[in-house]
Structures are given as C-alpha cells and as structure tokens.
C-alpha cells in the first residue's frame, strides 16, 4: 500500500480506505484523480489495478512530468484535531493518563519522490466536520473528532484507515482536570508502521491550570511500546518538539 507504483499510460488504479475510493489514471503528462464516497466503511486498506472503466466519475487533472511512478503515503489531517470525549473523563491532580487516539488517515500521492513540491493529491479516509477551538475572537479552526477514549490499547479493535496517536495527558495542576476537549496538532507528528498498525509519535500534554498555557511535547521517536516500528512518513511541518499552547477548552455557560 505505502510504496511506489508504476502506472502504465491509460491504466487505472484504485485505493479504498474508510469511506472513500480513489481512482488514479496516467495520461501523457497528466495525472487524473477521481473520488467516490462509499456507503459502508472499508476497514482494510485495499489498492489494485482496475480493469473495468470508471462510470460517472468527475476527474481532477494535474499536469506533471512524464514519469509514471506515483508514491502513496499516509498523513495526518491538514488541520489540528479537537478530540471530544464521548464519555466524561477526569484526571486527578499530579496524575497522568495515556490515551490512544484514532485519527482518520489521509492518503497523499507524490509524483516520483516524497518532496512537498511533488505532492499531487491528498484526501481523507472520511469527511471530517469542522469546528472552532477557543474563544470566538481568538481561536483555531480545526476538525472535530468525537471519540470513546481508550486507555487500554489491546482491548480495542483498530481500523486500518486510522492512525493511532498516543497522547499522555499530565495533570500538573492542583485541580482535577475535566477533559472536555483538547487540541491535537497533527502537523508535527511523524508516522510509523509496525506489522499491522500505523502510529504517530507520542504527544505529552501537561495541564497547568485553566488559564495557563499547556506544555505540549512531541517525543521525537516511535512510541516505546511499539515493536519494530519503521518511519514511513514525515511530519507536515518541520519538527517542533516543545510548544506552549492552549490545549484544553472548557465549555462555559452563556449565563456565566
């Protein structure tokens, strides 16, 4: 799946991931892409050559070079993610918790090599809804990800079209941390692969109080508990290992 594919002139390849099916054709100097929404999610990643023509497809044409090789790579979303726990989660003072966040996978296609200027197409495995994180006059546009948060990795069934992002929430304050929403910036995360899953490096978010900036640390290696991890994709932005930012958001009542 995550390798170079040589596509002959006129032939069509397809990728199925999550709720999307992507078609790719090579015609002279042009790459032609088409996207189709699937009714039911596909849990495994599937790719191959399509022999029958694609019906009713709207094609996006990208003019490139004459090379026939395309490289597909996984990526994290192009905006930060706001993780919204479906069930209440609280962390007591001076305690920490390791959460496994399943972030929907993006697939990127590069012409020949994985340089940014060679990126010809990318799309997410499913439609993500947009949300706003922060105050109305000062915040961040992000994707919303409502999740059942899990602290036990083995008990959970993972879909191939997700990247597992280990996030350690550290409550470094004297108050109980009520995790209502927190922000996860995927742009600084590298992607690794073990035998089955896709992983990102670990993120440590240190909560210091409601009005304080959180200390966000991106561990610069594969998670220690993932055996035989191989890096397969770089982070979107140049490496940032330590950032101070507003990472938690607490919902206020309008009458407050």
């Amino acid at each position: 799946m995550w390798s170079k594919i040589s596509i002959e002139q006129g032939s069509t390849y397809y990728w199925k991931l999550g709720l999307k099916e992507i078609y790719l054709q090579k015609r002279n100097k042009e790459w032609l892409f088409s996207l189709k929404d699937l009714q039911d999610p596909v849990n495994d990643l599937i790719c191959g050559e399509r022999t029958s023509p694609v019906d009713n497809a709207e094609w996006l044409t990208i003019i490139g070079d004459i090379g026939n090789t395309v490289l597909s790579l996984p990526a994290l979303p192009d905006r930060p993610i706001v993780v919204k726990p479906k069930t209440a989660l609280k962390v007591l003072p001076e305690k920490d918790v390791l959460l496994f966040i399943e972030v929907p996978l993006y697939i990127q296609f590069y012409s020949e090599t994985n340089k940014y200027e060679n990126l010809i197409f990318e799309c997410c495995s499913r439609e993500l809804s947009s949300t706003w994180f922060g105050e109305l006059d000062n915040g961040t546009l992000a994707y919303s990800l409502p999740l059942d948060l899990t602290t036990a990795f083995e008990k959970h069934k993972h879909a191939d079209h997700n990247i597992i992002c280990p996030v350690r929430l550290i409550n470094d304050s004297s108050m109980t941390l009520d995790v209502q929403r927190f922000l996860l910036s995927g742009e600084y995360l590298t992607i690794y692969r073990d035998k089955k899953e896709l992983w990102s490096n670990e993120v440590k978010i240190k909560f210091k109080g409601e009005s304080e900036f959180s200390d966000v640390q991106y561990v610069n290696q594969a998670p220690s508990f993932v055996k035989n991890a191989v890096q397969i994709a770089n982070a979107r932005s140049s490496k940032s290992t330590n950032v101070f930012s507003k990472s938690f958001h607490f919902i206020k009542s309008l009458t407050e």
């Binding site: 809804s129 949300t131 706003w132």
Partner: protein, 276 residues
Amino acid sequence: MSQNINISPEAISMFKQIAVTLILGYVIIQVLVILSKRVFFKKASPQSKMLITKGIIYTGVVVVVFTIINILELKNVFHTMLGAAGVLGIILGIASQTSIGNIVSGLFLISEKPFEIGDLIRVGEKQGVVYSIDLLSIKLRTLDNLLIRIPNQTIISTEVVNITKFPIRRMDITIGVAYKEDLKKVTELLRSIAHKNPLCLDEPEPLVLSNTFNTSSIDFIFGVWFEKTNYLQVRNSIFQQITERFREEGIEIPFPHISVYTGEATKPFPVTNEDR
C-alpha cells in the same frame, strides 16, 4: 515677423536642475517603494503595505517640492508667505475646514484600526470591501463591483460594522412553521441539518430558538456558525437543505393567510367548490 525668445543660460540651467530633480525624485521614490515591498511586504498586511507606500510617496513629494523651491530661489517668497501665514492660515483654515477634518479623522481611523484593507464593512446602508484608505476618504468596492467613496469624517461619526473582523461568523435565518407542527421535531431537524452540512461548524453549537408566535406561523431563529469565507456556499446549501428536509418530513412553511368566520368563533366560513 518671428521673434527670438532669449532665454538666459541661468534659466536653462535652472530648468535642467528642476527636470533632473523631478526625474531623480520620481526614480528614487519608485526605488524606495520597490525596496520596501521586498523588505517589509512579505508578512505585512494590505493595510501596512498601503501605509508604508503612501508614507514614502508623500515624504518624497514634499522633499522634491522643497528642493525645487530651493532651486528657484523662492526662499524669500516662501519666507514672506510664512510671514503672512497668520492671515493665510485663517483663510486656508476656513477654506479647507472639511478637508482638514477628513485628514484628522483619517489619522484617527489609522490609529484606531476598526477595519483594514480587504475587510467587508457596513457603513449605514452601504456595504462593501475596503478598497483603499486615503488621506480624505475611504473607498469601498461593493459586492456588485461599484466604488463608493466615503469621507473619513463620515466614517468617524457613523456606526461601522466590520463583518469579517473575526475568523468565524454566525448566519441567522428566520424560519416560520405552521402552528400544527411539533416544535421539538422542528428543533431536532434544524440541528441535524446544521450537523450534516460540512460547511457548518460543530462548535460553537448552532442556535435554534423558538422566537415568536407570528400571525401565520411560529418563527424560529436558526443560527449556524461557519468560516467567514464560506458565506455564499453556506447560505445556498442551508436554504436548499431546509426546504428539502422540511418537504421530506412534511413540515409546512406557511404563507400569510386569514380565516374568515361567519359569526361563530370556532367554525370557519363555509366555502364550497362546485364543478360547473
């Protein structure tokens, strides 16, 4: 019949100096503008770009004018003028009262910064994108591509609404439903429309408010949050989805109607439709 015009060598020399000053002044101003674009403009806002460019041009023009006065040896005339400035000042003050008012208002506008170039604003009845902020006026480009000039003094003394100041906005739509409808069902349907529209933001949550008992309908206010750049797409898609979903669910959007009674409060006026 022809007359020879005798121009003294001093005059020719003076003209040459003026020409050189004008050309050099023009070239230097242009070079400074280009240099400032390269040095400062990479991360500057359109507003800062305009201020820097105009600052360079106005300063350059003043320097060129004073250089020409110096060449023409009009210093004495100039000094005399300055001497008469008391009288002249009063005359000029009265004559240019409005202009000076506009210039001072312009300076307040620049320091207060209620809007910048590129912002969509509403001044009174007029709405448009700020096209330029000049010494005497601001210019708006309306959404149907007309140019409106509004004096700075008017802007200072009028209520200005900056529509695109913040990254997200809420669009409020008033929707009337028939009195027979289940209000809880309508509320849930509106929430689901906002939730399913990819252009609407999950948070802040959409506003669904049962607002008034109107003459023919119960009016809801439906407010969806969106990125400010998506206004047209959101408006079109939301209207389309509301009508489609209401039709699917059999929810009536009523038009104004009147029931006429023949005397009894509960029985309507009898109307029969007879086929001829």
